[in-house]
Every structure is written in structure tokens, then in C-alpha cells.
Symmetry: C2
Subunit: 243 residues, 2 copies
């Protein structure tokens, strides 16, 4: 029942606080057929994590650890971040829209699903590494979904979509589409652009946070390809250093 596409999907827990949740995430991954777990800002797992990871100990054993989100997602091509809160400068899509985007990606694209800490969720500087931010719909404002619950819902819907796409070669619906660059290269392109914009005076001290976050949001959603990068760098090289 395991889909090769499932191997392209990486679940990334950012600074998780509760080891029982980490174990429950591993179990949810096993339930739904995913096995690539990355963890930011924590290592190693405690016995409590293994206790909850019923029949899914292997996923914990193979998990990889990173000091920050940048390193954890750098080699991936499209990153989706889960958030429960409204974010002023970031566009939010629903879980279902995120799933639709994933299924439409070209074959072989490496995908990251980013989940934040239990109490605070992801910080804005974490979201800057995502191409898309998604929200899982809920009936009441509070509480948010539990961390393991949010991962379970996301993976289950993805698993359901993969299964229903079986025979349709999942993740290859639009094979004419060019694959996005690794996220590290997408962000390097944006960094060059922002450098330019700071030099030109477009980004300045008082609007910096707002504008930079909006740019991360905008360029993130583009899922930059090699062609996009060439075009954008060419485009921005046109901007004079002072408007």
C-alpha cells in the first residue's frame, strides 16, 4: 500500500515540546504510510516518544535532526507550513488547498510539511521558509488542534488523495510543469532581490519587517523554478540603486 510518492514527503517538527506528541506523530505517520521525519532544535528522543510510537519506532530511529528550519528544509523544493493563527503578512490557504497543490506537483519533487511547537506554533521567521502556509479548518477559535492531531489530519487527507490518485501516477499530473528549485536556492534568489531593494531604499528601517515578510510570502507562493530565478534576477538587475 506504500506509495513511492510518500517517500518524497518530509514531516518536519519544529522545536516540539512534548515527547508524547512526537511519538504520536510517528504512529500517525505509520498509519498513513509516511516515514521521513525531520526534527528541528531537539535531539535525541526520550523513551516517552518511543512509548507512544506504537509499531512506529523505526520512524523515530531514522529521524534526522537539524539546528534550525533553514537547514531542515534547504534541500526540499516545496514547503508547506501549518499555522493555527492568522498571520498579517502571510497568505493562508486551507488544508484542502494545500493537498491539492501537493498532488499537482511535478513528479519527484521533494516536499516538506512544517509543524510548529505546541504552545506557540511556528514563528514568522520559520514561516519565511515555507512556500505556502495552511490552516486546518476548525469549528471554534479555541483550542487549536493538538500537534499530533494536526499532523494526523494532514497526512490522512494526503494519504486519501494519494490512494484515490493511484493508477493516475500520483504527483505526475502536470508533468510539463517545471520542478521548483531547492528551497535554499529559492531563498538565495530572494536574498539577492531583497539586498537590491534595501540598497535602492525600497526596504528601509521602518517598513523592513512588513515588506520582507510580504516578499517571503509572495515569492514563496511562486515556488521558484530555474527559469523563474533567471527571469527575476534579470528583472531586478534593472532596478537602480536609488529610485
Amino acid at each position: 500500500m506504500k506509495s513511492p510518492a510518500a517517500n518524497l514527503i518530509h514531516i518536519i517538527l519544529v522545536r516540539p515540546e512534548n515527547m508524547a506528541n512526537v511519538g504520536a506523530v510517528a504512529r500517525a505517520m505509520k498509519n498513513t504510510g509516511f516515514e521521513k521525519l525531520r526534527v528541528v532544535g531537539l535531539s535525541p528522543f526520550s523513551p516517552e516518544a518511543f512509548r507512544l510510537a506504537v509499531h512506529a519506532e523505526e520512524i523515530l530511529k531514522k529521524a534526522t535532526f537539524y539546528p534550525d528550519v533553514a537547514k531542515a528544509v534547504g534541500d526540499l523544493q516545496v514547503v508547506f507550513a501549518s499555522t493555527a493563527k492568522r498571520r498579517k503578512n502571510f497568505t493562508l490557504i486551507s488544508l484542502e488547498e494545500a493537498i491539492k497543490k501537493i498532488v499537482k506537483l511535478p513528479p519527484g519533487v521533494k516536499i516538506g510539511l512544517l509543524f510548529g511547537p505546541e504552545r506557540t506554533g511556528l514563528e514568522s521567521h520559520d514561516l519565511e521558509w515555507a512556500n505556502h502556509c495552511f490552516v486546518i479548518p476548525q469549528a471554534s477559535r479555541q483550542p487549536s488542534y493538538n500537534l499530533a492531531g494536526a499532523v494526523l489530519l494532514t497526512l490522512f487527507l494526503l494519504f486519501k488523495e494519494i490512494r484515490s490518485a493511484e493508477g493516475l501516477s500520483f504527483l505526475s499530473f502536470s508533468s510539463s510543469e517545471e520542478a521548483p528549485l531547492p528551497v535554499a536556492q529559492q531563498k538565495e534568489c530572494l536574498r539577492l532581490i531583497m539586498e537590491k531593494l534595501r540598497a535602492s531604499g525600497f526596504i528601509h528601517l521602518t517598513n523592513k519587517k512588513h515588506v520582507e515578510e510580504r516578499l517571503h510570502d509572495l515569492f514563496g507562493r511562486l515556488q521558484l523554478t530555474e527559469k523563474d530565478r533567471k527571469l527575476l534576477l534579470a528583472l531586478f538587475s534593472e532596478i537602480p540603486y536609488h529610485f
Copy 2:
């Protein structure tokens, strides 16, 4: 965001073993807009349950307790039981099929969702009280979904379906359809029929378990209405006491 239809849906935990799961179920209910919780074979809740029921303590406080499944579902009209195991004598439908059935029910029908104990799941004698048994699809045979996870997935998909049906007056798609009898009356009708079948010799010592479970399955799926009952009792009154 709360739908009046959500008030018709009762989540029934049968002999839950782990209070953390009970609390997580309450949180999942709050997340997805459901509030009617019934519990079989346990009372009261421990502080551990309340600790996990973040912002959902009210659901635990209003929960009602029953000594057995019969009493917990007697007043409901259609009962769906979650099971992870294959069941020889019971027809299994998928979670998605169960959701479709729920949404198609006539307006005002009281619905039960039955979930079993963590380690063993529901027993066959519990399933006899269900109209339909459903399975949540999974990628691997083991482990099964955690109890709170199974409830969360079920309620989330139901919530999603309710939301997408908003404006279409949820639970009233087929208003010409007659509403099922309370489950206690459905089972009383079946009891009369089985009594007849035992007297006739159709059910005997060696086939009893198999045949009775198959009958529970069959008549359960019918969701008997008053009209059905009249017809069936009339029909079975035709059977002679010895074939």
C-alpha cells in the same frame, strides 16, 4: 460556526482505558464542533482527562454515563461503530461511506458514533448495536489509529462535510425518506424475529453465534423504520414454529 446538526451526533466511548485519550477526544470534539459525549462502563473522569481536554472541559462535564452499550444507544436512531479489525459476520464500510450515509439521513435523526477500548476495540456484542460498522483506511496493518486519532479523523471529515453542505440544510437532503426507529425498538423487532427463528429451529446451538451476528448486521444496515417493522413482523409471523 456550530451546526444544529452537530447536536444530533453523539460520540460514544465504550470502556475507554486511558484518561488522556478521553481528554483528547473532548478536545477533538471541540475542534470540530461536536459536544454530546456518552461513556460506557466508566465514571467519573480523572483529572488526567481534564488536563488533556484543553478548552473542552465543558464537554467532559456534560458527558453522560451508561453501564452498557444497549443503554447508551437505545434512544438513538442510527449507530455507526468504528472497527479496525475485519469482522467475519459484519459488513464493513469505509469511513467515507459512513459519512455519506450520515449526511443523507432525514432531518432530526439522532446519530451515534461508537468507539471501542484502546487495546481490543469493540466486541462483537457491541457491534450488534450498530447499524453500520466502518473502518478508517490505513496504509499499514499495524498499528491501528490511536483512539483519540480515530475520533478526530471521523469528526473532522464529518465537520468538513457539514460545512460543505451548509446552505443545503444538512441532514435534510432526502426529506421524503422515513426516519429510522430508535435503536432500542429496532433491536426489539429483531429480538422478536430471532425468537421466532430459534423456535422454528433455524437458529440452533451450533450456528447461533454466526447466524445471530449476521442478522444483526443485516437488519442493522436496514435502519428499520416503523413501516419496516410492521412489514417484517408481519412477514416473520408467517414462519411456522418448525420448518
